[in-house]
């Protein structure tokens, strides 16, 4: 694919190992502004690790990670004030702060990061909750009182509350019933894609991948073995992708039963 605009995120030969376990062994990917890329791949293949390297929660061993042309490969998240403000992240487990009410979760980045006063931040939080289809009353509940689907929605609201330029979704639909999963897909489309926000998502859910992704990339053994348009995923002509898309036990992908 020929990039006409400079990429929003540029990954070149990103590697990461834990001890002698090589998780990422050379990931290359460019994501254009306003593009939505979905990474698919089996459990434990390093999808979350890749996102955490971009976010600076983990530090890549080698390679290059650039955000808007700024090299952030070796800058830990704590010292990336400017770049971090561009990011929003929906964690796999939602990762809501259970010591705070829902509205404060949503407003957290505004209060702590942008020093907005609490009344104004609360107002913004309620607005953002409305965007993900939650009533203002939900703002006063504690996260533990919410269902999984509602927690994901709050997580989504928290991710977009700070008006990020890039949003990461780590398995946004995993663990939800198919209807709620599709509600989340639609929310991702209206809150992120339609707003021109760049998105990088992880999922096992092919329905979701096709729906929210402009492009799909498949990770296997620490590399992206296939990257292409979302509509081409069924005709990829790649045995690995075919096996994953159709969810077959037989094929070239051998599930690692032991680490």
């Amino acid at each position: 694919m020929i990039m006409t605009t400079p990429p929003k995120i540029h990954l070149k030969d990103v590697r990461k190992a834990f001890g002698d376990k090589q998780v990422l062994s050379g990931v290359d990917l460019d994501i254009a502004p306003a593009e939505s890329v979905v990474i698919i791949g089996g459990s434990g293949t390093g999808k979350s690790v890749l996102i955490k390297c971009i976010l600076g929660i983990l530090t890549a061993d080698s390679g290059t990670i650039e955000v808007d042309g700024t090299d952030v490969t070796h800058t830990p998240a704590g010292s990336r004030v400017v770049v971090n403000k561009k990011f929003g992240m929906l964690f796999q487990s939602a990762a809501l702060f259970d010591s705070l009410p829902v509205w404060e979760n949503v407003a957290f980045g505004l209060i702590q990061g942008e020093q907005m006063n609490r009344d104004e931040a609360r107002h913004r939080a309620i607005e953002t909750l409305a965007k993900v289809g939650l009533a203002p009353e939900v703002g006063d509940l504690s996260p533990s009182e919410l269902s999984g689907g509602m927690q994901k929605r709050v997580g989504l609201a928290r991710a977009i509350a700070g008006n990020p330029e890039i949003v990461f979704f780590d398995e946004p639909t995993t663990g939800l019933d198919p209807i709620m999963a599709d509600v989340i897909n639609d929310l991702i489309i209206t809150c992120v894609k339609d707003k021109g926000i760049t998105a990088l998502s992880i999922t096992h859910d092919m329905h979701s991948a096709r729906k929210i992704g402009d492009r799909i990339a498949m990770i296997y053994e620490g590399r992206l073995i296939w990257v292409g348009k979302a509509k081409d995923v069924d005709t990829a002509g790649n045995a690995f992708v075919d096996q994953f898309v159709h969810g077959r036990a037989e094929g070239p992908i051998k599930m690692q039963l032991r680490r």
Partner: protein, 257 residues
């Protein structure tokens, strides 16, 4: 050979731990003196550590003071030195029992809950979430607990001192038949400011150690519920051991001459 390898691994593991703890403590302290601080969170922790520990610390102190009076009376009666009871009670409480018992009780109460809370935040990715929301987890989680520990433990110990001495007074006057005025006089007469001050300094150090071990073990916990459980145990055990060792060292510093 295998045995030597095992020893080597244990020693290396231990040194690694010490190194990581030292870096953790250094980072935490450096964040204590750099803005932004979170006064709200510090206040919340101070209430948690100080106010909610009062009942358990008070109970421990009053019974310690009472039993101290009773036991030292039995002992001193054999030398006809019963008049020293008040003096022994106040010295033991202010110098040793107040800070050490309060420290151990708070280690069980607060150290455990800090490790459990921060550990759960770690394994549920809440600490990662803090970072992505431009908030430093050291500043947000560790600093308020350390500051509150260092400030509140001395206050708790001061209360423990008073209640402990009062426990001794109760037993002395109502059970052992001391004259109230005489008991109070001999409590106050022999007490030096340094006795109390050394106890408060100890308390501050213990508060730091309790919060440090709670935060450290929580921060590095991994592997779900079991990991958080292990972190909680480690926080209490290591804080208790550190309290007892540092208690001896501080006593040496103050009183060995």
């Amino acid at each position: 050979m295998n045995f030597l390898a095992l020893i080597g691994r244990v020693v290396l593991g231990f040194l690694g731990h010490i190194g990581r703890l030292t870096i953790f403590a250094g980072t935490a302290i450096s964040h204590c003196v750099r803005p932004p601080l979170y006064p709200r969170l510090i206040g919340q922790q101070m209430i948690d550590i100080g106010y909610y520990s009062l009942p358990v610390v008070g109970l421990t102190a009053i019974f310690s003071g009472m039993v101290l009076a009773l036991q030292s009376y039995t002992g001193f009666a054999r030398f006809s030195a019963e008049s020293a009871v008040a003096n022994v009670v106040v010295l033991s409480i202010t110098r040793e029992l107040g800070p050490v018992l309060a420290g151990l009780m708070v280690a069980g109460r607060i150290g455990a809950s800090m490790a459990a809370e921060i550990g759960t935040m770690r394994v549920t990715e809440q600490i990662d979430a803090l970072t992505t929301l431009s908030t430093n987890p050291f500043k947000y989680l560790v600093v308020p607990r350390l500051v509150a520990g260092v400030l509140m433990l001395p206050l708790l110990v001061l209360v423990a001192d008073i209640i402990g001495v009062f426990g001794g007074y109760l037993v002395g006057v109502y059970k052992l038949g001391f004259n109230a005025g005489v008991y109070i006089n001999s409590t106050v007469d022999f007490l030096e400011p340094l006795d109390v001050i050394s106890g408060l300094v100890k308390a501050s150090v213990f508060g730091f150690l309790i919060a440090l071990m709670g935060c450290y073990n929580g921060y590095y916990s991994k592997g779900g519920a079991q990991g958080v459980g292990a972190a909680t145990t480690n926080a209490v055990v290591s804080a208790s051991i550190l309290i007892l060792t540092s208690n001896y060292l501080i006593t040496e510093l103050f009183f060995a001459s």
